[in-house]
Amino acid sequence: MATDTLIGAGFTDPVFQSQAAFRALLVALSEPGTPQAVSGGVAPPEGLHAATATTLLTLADYETPIWLPTALRDGPAGAWLRFHCGAALVEEPRRAAFAVIDGAAPAPRLTDFDPGSDQFPDRSTTIIVQCAAFHGGGTVTLAGPGIATRRDIAPAGLRPGFWAEVAGNNAAYPLGVDLLLAHADGVIGLPRSTQIGKAA
């Protein structure tokens, strides 16, 4: 049997690995801009960072449709998520509860995903943005709930205009998508409530 048709392992200890990963995600989204390690020792399928794979194992199931770029959806990542999470993989970004995008790719835009509705802003997409690194990019300054004064981050490998999109997302508050920047086994939370400014 060819090894490329095999689906890799998920959590070895789902209860405690998902609990630990969730706590890291809770801190990530309640203290935006702080890098959090979510690695549960999961070997991710090709195309997903460990943090992306662990986050989806922790949060996604048959109730949460996932959007992936076509190449990932048709590859081992799609099969891995279908098998371990039991989640539907959807083609339309707007139907997704979770989405994985490449931070450098020009499409899809953040506005292509579901921002929730006026009465139910919680029904919006959570987007995992896979990026090249958490430092070395242009510095942006964050402010808002979860941040005492100001916090600077400089993730690299994001498309031009990405921060304008994030600022636009914040402008629609309380509607909007929530972002998790993912690299290797780390995540940085950027909920819709976070205001984006260029570093002074």
Partner: protein, 318 residues
């Protein structure tokens, strides 16, 4: 994906999943919690489960705690500030049995504090999580019973009715008479019910370094305040928000600035005022502070619950 664990003393039969809830339920609650911290003050609907205690006894708080707790956590549970009342004792024991966590009564040692109707006097620190048990999460519910309407009011930020209610307080009583569950506005948007904490505690909601999670089991709502969130108690320019407490010092530890319970001590009008927060009071007494009746009492709530407190002169007759 269900992983069974065995009850202590029974190594053969599988009992419940870790922390009682099944993994699918935990995922659902965790997703709701993440949306709740992303939109502070907004009430996220969730599929509240049957718990092994009656709704209204803290099922919302228990489900939130069960979804976040892990073996590395240290849990503290308080009911009206006290660690040793029935609700607090049974919830603490529930998590000892189902999650095997360490428990504590010391506010500063806890990583998760589940609370009913108080915020501890000892300031919370970064990394701590405060889980509130909430009876009625909708601050507008007694003004507008229809959920479809209150949803719209939150959507449109139409909170005039709440100000009318506070104004009627002033018209009738000369001041804002609402003394607990005092409505707050979060980050300039959602009006939120802080659960029935005394308004004495309202200033601690804002800019708190701890994460505050609110669970309403019967009403199936979860909401949250991330650390350093701006929370403003509603008021008027000419009637600004004021905290209130009994104008006394604690009779056990002498604290001047803590929230007090009034305890009736006999049938001749005798009474004492004691800290509602038992850990705070005990900590101060251990440091040597002493109030009017300081001396030999163990804890404020033990005193309140004991008959010797109510009928000290008739101890021999019992």
């Amino acid at each position: 994906m269900t992983v069974h664990q065995t009850l202590p003393g029974d190594e053969t039969s599988p009992a419940y999943n870790y922390a009682y809830l099944d993994e699918q339920t935990k995922r659902m609650i965790r997703r709701a919690l993440l949306k709740a911290v992303a939109v502070p003050g907004y009430q996220v609907p969730f599929g509240s489960r049957e718990m092994p205690l009656a709704r209204g006894w803290g099922t919302g708080g228990i489900q939130v705690t069960a979804a976040i707790i892990g073996p590395q956590d240290t849990l503290k549970v308080i009911d009206q500030g006290a660690d040793d009342t029935t609700n607090a004792v049974s919830i603490r024991r529930f998590f000892q049995r189902t999650a095997g966590v360490a428990t504590t009564e010391a506010t500063m040692d806890a990583t998760i504090i589940q609370t009913r109707h108080r915020i501890p006097e000892t300031p919370l620190t970064e990394g701590q999580i405060l889980v509130y048990q909430v009876p009625i999460p909708e601050p507008l519910r007694f003004l507008e019973p229809r959920e479809t309407e209150t949803r719209k009011m939150h959507e449109l930020e139409e909170y005039g009715l709440m100000h009318v209610k506070l104004y009627e307080d002033i018209a009738r009583h000369g001041q804002i008479a609402t003394s607990y569950a005092y409505p707050v506005k979060v980050e300039g948007h959602y009006v939120m019910d802080p659960s029935p904490i005394p308004k004495f505690d309202n200033p601690k909601l804002s800019g708190n370094p701890a994460t505050q999670l609110f669970g309403a089991g019967r009403e199936q709502r979860i909401y949250a305040l991330p650390p350093w969130t701006d929370v403003v108690s509603l008021d008027f320019d000419d009637h600004p928000f004021e905290t209130s407490k009994a104008p006394h010092d604690c009779d056990l530890c002498g604290a001047k600035d803590s929230y007090l319970d009034e305890v009736i001590t006999d049938d001749e009008g005798g009474r004492m005022f004691v800290c509602s927060d038992t850990d705070f009071c005990a900590g101060r007494r251990a440091e040597g502070h002493e109030g009017r009746l300081g001396g030999d009492q163990k804890s404020s709530k033990t005193f309140a619950n004991s008959f010797e407190g109510i009928w000290p002169a008739t101890a021999g007759a019992r």
